[in-house]
Subunit: 221 residues, 2 copies
């Protein structure tokens, strides 16, 4: 019988050790960290911009942008006056905690309340990687279709909150909201679903309130 060599587990183990160190460092500095997952083009950057707008009066925020290439997202965040660090993975389909550690080294953690990590646009690979975050959230956008929980169950299961973005385009697409929320609640019964339109601002308040409450709770501890 051929020997089975698991190539993935040692990488995950190493990642998780470093994620544990990061988590401690974030807790010591009183920083809440959100890892945001989604497909390409689902509106991660627009959602981050809208979230910052809703929370900037109460919290000091920085963003870590993960992309295969380019710095277009970090530029958009910086244009809004928020600190942003761009990570280019150079081909890798997800962020790892070693990349986050390098990004964190250029941030002043003691001055921050919230770091939002925009992961690489991908519903699969980022799911397995702990980045030392307090919570993972995911975005599905209406044009992607209501059947995505069936096809990408993992990301719906690991997310503490699910954002349904581009909700204003529902009339344009054949999106069955009931089928979607029913699939989600089977995969992840406790997770709230926030229906938003990031570019128009609709529904952002409920999502931002949920996040703000989690940040305050972490800071009380």
């Amino acid at each position: 019988m051929p020997q089975h060599i698991d190539l993935k587990q040692p990488i995950l183990d190493k990642n998780d050790r470093m994620a544990g160190e990061l988590r401690q460092r974030f807790a010591d500095a009183g920083v809440y960290v959100l890892d945001l997952l989604a497909s390409p083009g689902s509106g991660k950057t627009s959602t981050i911009l809208a979230t910052i707008d809703a929370l900037r009066d109460e919290f000091n925020i920085a963003v870590i942008e993960g992309d295969i290439a380019s710095s277009v997202d970090a530029e958009k965040i910086k244009a809004q006056g928020t600190a942003a660090v761009q990570i280019n993975t150079g081909g890798a389909c997800h962020l790892e905690s070693a990349m986050i550690r390098r990004a964190v080294d250029v941030l002043d953690l003691d001055r921050l309340d919230l770091i939002i990590i925009e992961n690489v646009g991908n519903l699969v690979c980022p799911t397995d990687f702990d980045l030392g975050e307090n919570a993972k959230a995911m975005i599905l956008s209406v044009p992607e279709g209501h059947d995505k929980p069936l096809k990408y169950p993992g990301v719906f299961q690991v997310s503490d909150a699910i954002i349904l973005n581009k909700a204003d385009t529902m009339p344009v697409f054949d999106f069955d909201e009931e089928a979607f929320t029913s699939s989600v609640s089977q995969l992840n019964p406790g997770a709230p679903v926030f229906k938003i339109s990031a570019t128009k601002g609709d529904g952002v308040d409920a999502w931002a309130s949920w996040l703000a409450e989690r940040i305050r709770e972490a800071q009380r501890q």
Copy 2:
């Protein structure tokens, strides 16, 4: 100095050897194989259905469906009366040639002219994997945004043709078509861009004609 262990290259080497064997087998049977890449929800299955509609009078077609989980896409293809084999990768973010070989074993290659492989919804991982195909094509859908060539250059570079789907929704989204085609032509000057609306049928003829010409050309050799 720590030893550098390249975990990816041996996997790619093994994949490419098996892809070479598959390519020979496809050529011997006179089957043209298209590997279709795209994000989740960009309309791969709808595009395949529209392509089959346009080509079924001339060619015998089968579809290999790659998904993390579920068989919703294969069911849609079968409902249209076309042979479909579902591969569930069980978490893997791309198809590999070993998976294609198992799927091909249940198809009658001698009876087929065209196999369309619907890869896992992912703009990153499938890019590196040769599946023995004659051509790779990719879909970007308008709601994903015109900046995607900058952020996911690899998939635009390896694709022999680029399909811009959901073109009918351009008025709804802030999609800069000129910026998109300019980025694409810098990354991949020779690749045609087909603007379609798969569900409405607009533009599918030009794409299907391009594909049909490639199939006929391969069959003449």
